[in-house]
């Protein structure tokens, strides 16, 4: 079978699985899988850019996705009345001071001659800076968090349309990635993986504990939707023109409204995916892509041939992370809420990795395919597992402990299956379902 035919066939199979869901379960369920699949595909493209094209092992995807979510709150929610005057500026000031302290310490480390004076200078700057920072930061934060803590207690956002939050999420993630990359990629031996693993946890810790920022673990509910493309079901169900159209399609108002909202999201997500896919493909097939391949093949030689390897690695790390940030912002928009407690590495880092590896690292289309397939399974393995367990246990007497245990454990089949699929693909098609050319 020729390459393109095989690849098309793979996409058709995954598409068919989703369509089957539509017929056997509901179209709402199917389109929801598509929507999350689209978001996952964007995340996979980001990770694929880093791993597939530059060999950067980012196990902190979760952190960048979460930052994207944070951006949504900071951009699209209304500002909390009184928060800015009541401490917002103070917080910003203290953060700037904190940053200045670090910059000063780094400058001293670079500029001053090495020796004991330098060490004392650095420690001195850091200690003084830390206490000044805390002295301004703490009271201001306390006053922001005191504003109506049950429903607010944060500085709120800019009240802009939520679509602006998507690029903003990318920027926020890119900024964080730049900082991480600057530190970790600059290390003599590369320690990116463990740095990202840790920093992702730190990002989540900050989002959970800094209530002034986005309410921390108290969550932000009711994030606006990207109107007018995506409306509100309840409003649609009362809109006569919509009802008329629904009738024309032969759908009942509830189904029609839920479908229309989901399709609205699908449309937006698809546009983003296509744009990013196009950009990734174009970059890849250009001299830029050739240079990246050269760096991947042999860093030392590429460096000697005038390519600034560290800068290029930083560039691609920032880009990939930004894409994850965009996906994170889109996901938070789809959820309609920011819940920092939901970010967990198994789901947001390792699962995305499974998507990339299963799909085919180094191939953007592979990453997209992997994302859809794995997301489909992530959602559907559980009912399949339950069905399987029911089948296995059908012969057992009711009330037997084993039967109860097996049925109860069906949910854990999901993790198991993901691992199994990863291993099987790695074993028999080590470059993924759609390998790099």
């Amino acid at each position: 079978m020729s390459e393109p035919l095989k690849n098309t066939l793979l996409f058709v199979v995954v598409g068919a699985l989703i369509v089957l869901t539509g017929f056997t379960q509901s179209w709402n369920a199917a389109i929801l899988i598509i929507n999350m699949g689209l978001i996952s595909a964007i995340m996979s493209i980001g990770v694929n850019l880093q791993w597939g094209f530059a060999g950067l092992f980012n196990v902190g995807v979760m952190g960048f996705v979460a930052l994207g979510g944070l951006a949504v709150v900071l951009v699209s929610t209304p500002p909390t009345p009184g928060a800015w005057s009541g401490g917002g500026y103070g917080v910003i000031l203290s953060l700037l001071l904190g940053a200045a302290t670090v910059v000063a310490a780094v400058m001293v480390a670079q500029k001053m001659p090495k020796g004991r004076t330098q060490t004392f200078a650095i420690i001195g700057i850091l200690v003084v800076g830390f206490f000044v920072y805390r002295a301004i930061f703490d009271p201001n934060v306390a006053s922001i968090e005191a504003i109506d803590p049950a429903v607010a207690g944060n500085i709120g956002g800019l009240n802009l349309p939520v679509l602006f939050a998507w690029p903003a999420g990318g920027l926020l993630a890119a900024g964080a990635a730049w900082l991480i990359g600057k530190t970790a990629l600059g290390l003599r031996s590369d320690y990116l993986a463990i740095a990202t693993l840790g920093i992702a946890e730190i990002i989540i810790a900050v989002m959970k504990n800094e209530d002034w920022l986005a309410r921390g673990v108290k969550n932000v509910y009711g994030i606006p939707r990207p109107a007018p493309v995506v409306g509100y079901e309840v409003e649609l169900q009362q809109d006569p023109s919509f009802l008329a159209r629904a009738e024309w399609f032969g759908l009942d108002p509830v189904t029609a409204s839920t479908l229309s909202v989901k399709l609205g999201y699908s449309l937006l997500f698809l546009i983003v995916l296509l744009v990013l896919l196009w950009m990734a493909q174009m970059a890849l097939k250009s001299p830029w892509g050739r240079m990246m391949r050269a760096i991947r093949d042999n860093e030392v030689a590429a460096e000697a041939m005038g390519k600034d390897v560290t800068r290029r690695h930083l560039q691609i790390f920032v880009l990939g992370s930004a894409i994850c940030g965009i996906a994170g912002a889109m996901m938070t928009t789809l959820d309609g809420q920011l819940t920092p407690g939901t970010y967990n590495p198994l789901r947001f880092t390792f699962l995305v990795w499974v998507m990339v590896i299963v799909g085919g690292s180094g191939n953007n289309f592979g990453a997209v395919l992997g994302a859809f397939l794995i997301w489909f399974l992530w959602v559907q393995v559980e009912p399949m597992g339950l069905w399987l367990m029911n089948l296995i246990t059908s012969g057992m007497p009711d009330g037997s402990a084993l039967k109860a245990h097996l049925i109860e454990s069906a949910a854990h089949m999901r993790l198991f299956t993901m691992g199994l699929i990863l291993l099987i693909v790695l074993r028999f098609s080590p470059r993924g379902l759609i390998p790099e050319k």
Partner: protein, 373 residues
């Protein structure tokens, strides 16, 4: 005919250890009704389980959609407040589906625009904070150290306890979060001990970080007595910690011992731990659905949704666990009922439960109810 109810809990993820007993609770209520044959001309009720992952919005909404597709008439869930919000906004409201959460206690959910579709059998944190402050005052405690599990439940509850207690003139020496499922709590306990206080109030979960904190605090002699909010009340705590816990006290939602004790006995007979957190609330959530359906004479959410408040609150005859058949009969006869259930259900306003509280003290290694509030 068959009525399907969705059971949407986090069977995997951080509270995976609580979810099974919650699921069993809900399903026990369904089995009870099915056996009675009294619901709407002898309808059978079956539960359809699905996972929220507790913290996976994407999975939770997908599974929510699947349930709708399955044709459920109501959803018992979600469990963690985060996913509950996501399911509510993205699945329940758009589809006009009624949801009763047994465990999402975040005040944020109360203010959400829910079109009258969202209820919960667990009381919101604000109320519990007040109750706890009262108990602390009555016991003559003047200063507390406070630690909470770092999620919306813990945080909200800690805020409520702190503000109520300080309003009543008490001192909170430190408020420190702890993460559930972490490796080690020495650092937290060290900080709490250093700050000091008459007792340590642990707004956490009894088989999660909360247990770790108490164990570690007792071991190091940092605190002898603990304040135990609802998430910490359960048989496993005294049995796991041992006699050192004697003298600690707290409260848990629940009217009188009667309903709860009955429920625990029923659960024990059915072979699971009814005292596991939110298991009683789950039973009640399922029961409310079926009673409201009976009252409305319909399984359509739009119709029975309005009846939920009616069956849950006075006036009417009080209904306890195991008496669902009686409740159904009364409703069929057109009479009013006041469902009390295992957790002392009382719904106030949109999506909130008022609930009364049992004051608990640990004596001789057992949770003893010493008072009702």
């Amino acid at each position: 005919d068959d009525v399907k109810l969705g059971v949407l809990f986090g069977f995997t993820g951080p509270i995976e250890s609580l979810a099974p007993a919650m699921g069993s609770g809900a399903e026990m209520a369904m089995a009870e009704v099915t056996e009675s044959g009294k619901l709407l001309d002898g309808a059978t009720v079956t539960g359809s389980r699905a996972d929220t992952g507790c913290i996976d919005n994407g999975l939770a909404t997908s599974n929510g959609e699947r349930m709708i597709a399955d044709g459920v008439s109501g959803i018992i869930g979600g469990d963690c407040s985060g996913v509950t919000g996501a399911i509510l906004q993205n699945v329940a409201i758009p589809n006009g589906m009624v949801m009763i959460s047994p465990s999402a206690t975040s005040p944020g959910l109360s203010t959400m625009e829910d079109n009258g579709l969202f209820f919960r059998t667990a009381p919101s944190d604000a109320r519990e904070g007040q109750v706890m402050a009262d108990i602390l005052k009555d016991r003559g405690i003047s200063s507390i150290a406070l630690t909470y599990t770092n999620n919306d439940y813990g945080k909200g509850l800690a805020d409520a306890i702190q503000s109520s207690f300080e309003a009543a003139g008490g001192e909170v020496t430190i408020v420190a979060a702890h993460e559930d499922g972490k490796a080690d709590y020495s650092a937290e306990v060290g900080a709490l001990a250093s700050a000091g206080g008459d007792i340590l109030v642990v707004a956490g979960y009894l088989d999660q970080g909360g247990l770790g904190i108490i164990q570690s605090a007792l071991d190091s002699g940092a605190f002898d007595t603990f304040g135990l909010p609802g998430g910490m009340i359960g048989d496993s705590l005294p049995s796991n910690v041992g006699p050192d816990l004697n003298g600690s006290f707290g409260q848990i939602a629940g009217s009188g011992g009667e309903g709860a004790e009955k429920y625990f006995a029923m659960a024990e007979a059915a072979g699971y731990d009814g005292s596991s957190p939110y298991s009683p609330e789950s039973y009640d959530a399922a029961a409310l659905f079926m009673l409201a359906m009976q009252a409305a004479g319909s399984t359509a959410p739009a119709e029975y949704g309005a009846k939920i408040m009616d069956v849950a609150n006075a006036p009417g005859e009080k209904i306890y666990p195991g008496e669902l058949a009686k409740g159904l009969e009364l409703l069929a006869a057109g009479q009013e009922i006041d469902y009390v259930g295992a957790s002392g259900v009382e719904l106030i306003g949109p999506g909130e439960s008022a609930g009364s509280y049992r004051e608990i003290e640990v004596t001789d290694g057992e949770n003893k109810t010493v008072n009702f509030r």
